[in-house]
């Protein structure tokens, strides 16, 4: 399996505090990976660096077969290169309908003039219908997304990410605030998504990570503490000490 994203020697500090310290991370083309770690381990900063929100002080972030360096690109450019990101809080456009939200996310030309002078075609509408079906929101297409429940908003956001057709999907605490049934649905969505792309799930909840059944990377104080299967890392003494054994 070829490498899709390679992060090496990345460090970043805020006002002297080293949020990320010489971090190395790799993920393959079609891989599901969970990233866990205690609060302040640098999980969100790690995502910020990949998506271009934060520029690292040093280190390389290489992406794709052409080894494109992501460190100098804008957020929008990185997103167009195929990196999708889901935030912890569901961020959908509440004033717009579910269909409009999905339409916004569809992988199409993002140029303002192209968007102004084109209108969605039949294929786009069909795709929106399929996506709604996939995340279980077919019955809600015409509703304003602000009216959806918390879990439905999370799914809508996942649907929007799928619409972007990213090659790398970064998901921040997808199961936060969900009911057990909703968690199960979310697990299925993520496992399914990882069959066609790379998915990185940042998660706090060990039970949820266990259900994902994938390789786990443990972050601590801005660098990788351990990596391997969930059973492997939960038996690692360092991991137990800093994270699990509290």
């Amino acid at each position: 399996m070829s490498t899709l994203l390679e992060v090496s020697g990345v460090s970043v500090s805020f006002d002297g505090f080293k949020a990320i310290n010489n971090l190395a991370f790799q993920i393959g083309e079609r891989e599901l990976r969970a990233v866990i770690g205690p609060n302040g381990a640098g999980k969100t900063t790690f995502m910020d660096i990949i998506t271009g929100k934060t520029r690292p002080d040093e280190g390389r972030v290489l992406y794709g077969e052409k080894s494109l360096s992501l460190t100098g690109l804008s957020e929008a450019r990185i997103a167009r290169e195929g990196v999708g990101r889901k935030f912890q809080r569901p961020t959908v456009f509440e004033d717009q309908t579910v269909a409009e939200n999905l339409m916004l996310a569809l992988r199409n030309n993002r140029n303002p003039l192209a968007v102004l002078f084109s209108s969605p075609n039949r294929a786009d509408h069909t795709r929106v219908g399929e996506l709604a079906e996939e995340v279980g929101l077919t019955a809600h297409l015409g509703r304003k997304s602000g009216e959806l429940s918390h879990g439905q908003k999370q799914w809508l956001e996942i649907g929007m990410l799928l619409a972007q057709e990213p090659r790398l999907l970064l998901v921040d605490e997808p199961a936060a605030g969900m009911t057990p049934a909703e968690r199960e649905h979310t697990t299925d969505l993520l496992v399914e998504a990882a069959k066609t792309r790379a998915v990185v799930v940042v998660e706090h909840d060990m039970a949820f990570v266990r259900r994902l059944g994938c390789k786990v990377t443990v972050l601590h104080e801005g660098s990788v503490l351990a990596e391997g299967s969930i059973d492997h890392v939960t038996q690692d003494e360092k991991v137990i000490e800093v994270y699990l054994g509290r």
Binding site: A79, P90, E94, L104, L116, A132, L141, E147, S149, H150
Partner: protein, 418 residues
């Protein structure tokens, strides 16, 4: 797919946007009524000066549309759109003044024993126009003033280019919110202060005057000219409404509303947010310039005070009172508040004697307007446009200040069904 109807709006543009038809019908009826009642074309119930007031109001409605697009839809509280409006006025005013002075100078020199040379005529025009600021040479910016097509191009290009350059600098450095408003206000103030100078080349605080007289049409009475401009303003407003509806209705509109609500999220969807803002800022500046070019020939005079930041703040107040985020709201707000303002400040509103003090509306109108603005912002954020929702029973839930959903801002299902 069962929800094809929801996701596939394949109907005609007008059908999808009934507001357009209603708006255009109202505008046509209004125009017809004024035409039938005006001094120049009808019974004369409406005086020429009031026709001009109504025509100017239509231009203000057009610039309010632009403001609604940039603020209500894209979330950029620009305090510079009346500056673009003024620049449009200056651009057309230069030609009007030049061409009319040219005719006067040519007439007076025609009586001389020798026919005047083009240079003599040009000098004569310069002396006439710039004598008031103690100059007799044409400044470089008047180089194109002799040509109507070029000055008409300037109506579009000058505000457009200024908006493009200013917007590029401001958006690129990701200045947003109140800081962006302050920046646009600074631009407006700088422009006004520059124009106030006598050596700015645009006659300083005298501004350009006599713009109501169309060159070569001295025989046509103002009652007729006023109707021409009234009709042109009505057509421009109708076209502007169509254009704005088209812009905000499609996917582009969806993107700019998304930018207004959560700019960061739109960026992570891959949209170049700055480019979208720049397009909207520039397009609306051009609309404002065109509105200004139609307004000032009806007003007859333009001076730098018209460009001062307060004008743009008034514009924001009109849009807020009318209801931002809906195009007809902006039009209603601009028409309602500016006509009311004309009534109050024109001395027609009766004074209120309180015994110890008499409220003179000429002085107190701005206070009333200020309180209305605060009132609307606090108690009726949807503005006058919200009345239409109320009539259509499209009420938003009364939250009594409490959060309802699991997350802030979420609506409850049963409320949504109403």
């Amino acid at each position: 797919m069962t929800d094809a109807a929801l996701t596939m709006p394949r109907r005609a543009f007008i059908q999808r946007h009934p507001a357009v038809l209603v708006f255009l019908a109202c505008l046509a009826l209004f125009t017809l009524a004024v035409t039938l009642l005006a001094e120049g074309t009808g019974t004369g119930v409406i005086s020429t000066s009031f026709v001009k007031t109504l025509g100017k109001t239509l231009c203000l409605c057009l610039v309010a549309l632009a403001m609604d697009l940039v603020w209500g839809y894209c979330g950029i509280l620009s305090l510079g759109h009346m500056a673009f409006f003024g620049l449009g006025g200056y651009a057309i005013g230069m030609w009007l003044m030049y061409a009319r002075t040219e005719i006067i100078v040519a007439e007076s020199l025609a009586q001389a024993p020798l026919p005047p040379t083009p240079d003599e005529i040009r000098d004569g025009i310069a002396t006439q126009i710039f004598g008031v600021v103690g100059a007799s040479e044409f400044p470089p910016i008047w180089a194109l003033a002799h040509s109507l097509p070029l000055q008409l191009a300037a109506v579009v290009l000058v505000p457009g280019l200024l908006a493009l350059v200013f917007g590029w600098l401001a958006f690129r450095s990701r200045v947003t919110g109140v800081y962006l408003s302050i920046l646009t206000q600074a631009m407006t103030l700088a422009l006004a202060l520059y124009l106030f100078q006598n050596d700015s080349g645009l006659r300083g605080n005298n501004g350009l005057s006599g713009l109501q007289n169309l060159p070569g049409l001295g025989d046509v009475p103002q009652s007729t000219v006023s109707m021409w401009f009234f009709w042109a303003s009505a057509v421009a407003l109708g076209a502007g409404f169509l254009l704005c509806t088209w812009i905000v209705s499609g996917k582009f509109g969806s993107v700019i509303r998304a930018i207004r609500d959560d700019e960061t999220r739109v960026r992570f969807l891959g949209y170049p947010v700055e480019a979208y803002k720049l397009v909207i800022f520039t397009v609306t500046a051009v609309i404002a310039g065109i509105a200004g070019a139609l307004y000032y020939p009806q007003a007859g005079i333009i001076n730098p005070a018209e460009i001062a930041p307060i004008a743009s703040i008034y514009l924001a107040v009109w849009v807020a009172i009318g209801g931002r985020g809906r195009l007809y709201g902006a039009v209603i707000g601009a028409a309602f508040v500016s006509l009311l303002s004309t009534w109050f400040t024109g001395g027609q509103a009766p004074d209120i004697p309180l015994g110890f003090y008499t409220i003179k509306w000429v002085d107190w109108w701005t206070v009333l307007l200020g309180f209305s603005f605060v009132g609307v912002t606090l108690f009726a954020p949807k503005g006058i446009g919200g009345l239409f929702d109320w009539i259509a029973d499209k009420r938003s839930p009364d939250r009594h200040g409490a959060d309802l959903g699991p997350d802030q801002g979420a609506l409850r299902e049963q409320e949504a069904e109403r």
